[in-house]
Symmetry: C2
DNA sequence: TTGCTTATTGGTCGCACACTCAATAGCATG
DNA sequence: CATGCTATTGAGTGTGCGACCAATAAGCAA
């Protein structure tokens, strides 16, 4: 007997079940896209009936927003930990740039692209995107600000510099679904690093040489 | 009697009808988004039956790709005319940057964002996006190349510079659906101009002072 | 063990979508 | 005016979606 047929109900606490649903939806969002978060698809993922998803999220749009926020929020925590224990701002920024440039970051780029477009139609998602944009910007600005205070970076306006780096990252992320995204001049792939080094008054290579 | 009820058939040549359909679909794409291009929606726009759209585009994905290509292609022709009669590269680039930064460009930004995400799922659209990316890049590179030849611009690699400007434009375009897209530091809105002036060795203001 | 709360199911409804195809009628041609 | 070609219609198929709700049973508490 295959385990795919569930004839026995499994009853969980509302909190646990809700978290499970959000996690499953986040997985679907990362792998297939936010529009693939449907009652049926998420239910299948958890081997429950679609009605159960509706029970926890009467409006599916709220689940979409929650799934997006969960995926992107935890990614930020890994990229720029709030408590950066014993690492210089330079190393932190270098690590951030190394990860956001790597191939493994493509799923996150796709999710950002996805969310920014879909938020055109879904208010709940639009609010969540705004929150996450603020969070990413604030976290990056903080790293830069500390770097300036400690004399590692030099910029008149950490906020603008942070936005500038994020804009370049977003601009490259726009190309994530293009077939020719991986090729192209190497100088283009290094654009975020180049931008950061220039805007922070760092020597070339300061943010790309063996950071991790 | 309202004109919304069409009881009399109007028979047109295939070429004219096809062009009409593409134009209507492009209008829908610009105003409401590519996923709003449905057989019913486009048919309603032209006051015909949905089956007629299917007749000209047996696969709706091809109509979506065609509508996108039409809208974005004609926009490029207006932004960077192929035959730039009697205008300096500086004026051309200034005009391009002025228009792509303006509020009126938001619909085009939305369409690019839309297409780049949707091309994840629709192969026909993905191919069209690649074609238009090449076209925009080539056209901008050409302006820069001529500017370098005529001594107005200074850059070692016109292609990389063109891509760099487009990446910044795309990065800002990502924010088009965010509620806080219009506010934010002025320096951020001027990022494309700043980038272009820096990369082309121009004095500050060379690309933003009364171009048109 | 019994009973009760409520998490979970199963079924249904209405809607919008792409796609198909035989029947119809506009219109150019003779 | 009559005729033939074909652009256009009308009707229908099947799919997947969100939402709703009464019935059911899991598992905790008494």
């Amino acid at each position: 007997m295959s385990s795919s047929v569930q004839n026995k109900r499994i009853r969980k606490s509302p909190g646990a079940r809700r978290a499970e649903i959000v996690a499953a939806a986040a997985g679907v969002a990362l792998a297939e896209g936010l529009e693939c978060i449907t009652l049926r698809r998420v239910a299948e993922e958890l081997d429950v009936r679609p009605g159960l998803i509706s029970h926890y999220f009467p409006a599916v749009d709220d689940l979409v927003a929650e799934a997006y926020g969960s995926a992107v929020g935890s990614e930020l925590d890994e990229l720029l930990p709030a408590d950066r224990a014993g690492a210089t701002p330079t190393r932190h920024l270098a690590r951030f740039l190394a990860r956001t440039t790597g191939k493994a970051y493509d799923d996150i780029s796709r999710l950002w692209l996805n969310a920014r477009h879909l938020s055109r139609y879904r208010p709940a998602l639009r609010d969540r995107v705004a929150v996450q944009e603020d969070a990413w910007r604030d976290r990056l600005e903080e790293v830069i600000r500390v770097g300036v205070e400690e004399g590692e970076f030099h910029t008149a306006d950490p906020l603008v510099t942070a936005i500038q780096i994020l804009v370049v990252l977003d601009g490259l992320g726009m190309l994530v679904n293009s077939p020719s995204a991986d090729d192209g001049p190497p100088a283009v792939r290094r654009l975020p690093v180049t931008t950061a080094e220039r805007e922070l008054g760092l020597p070339v290579g300061a943010l790309s040489d063996a950071p991790d």
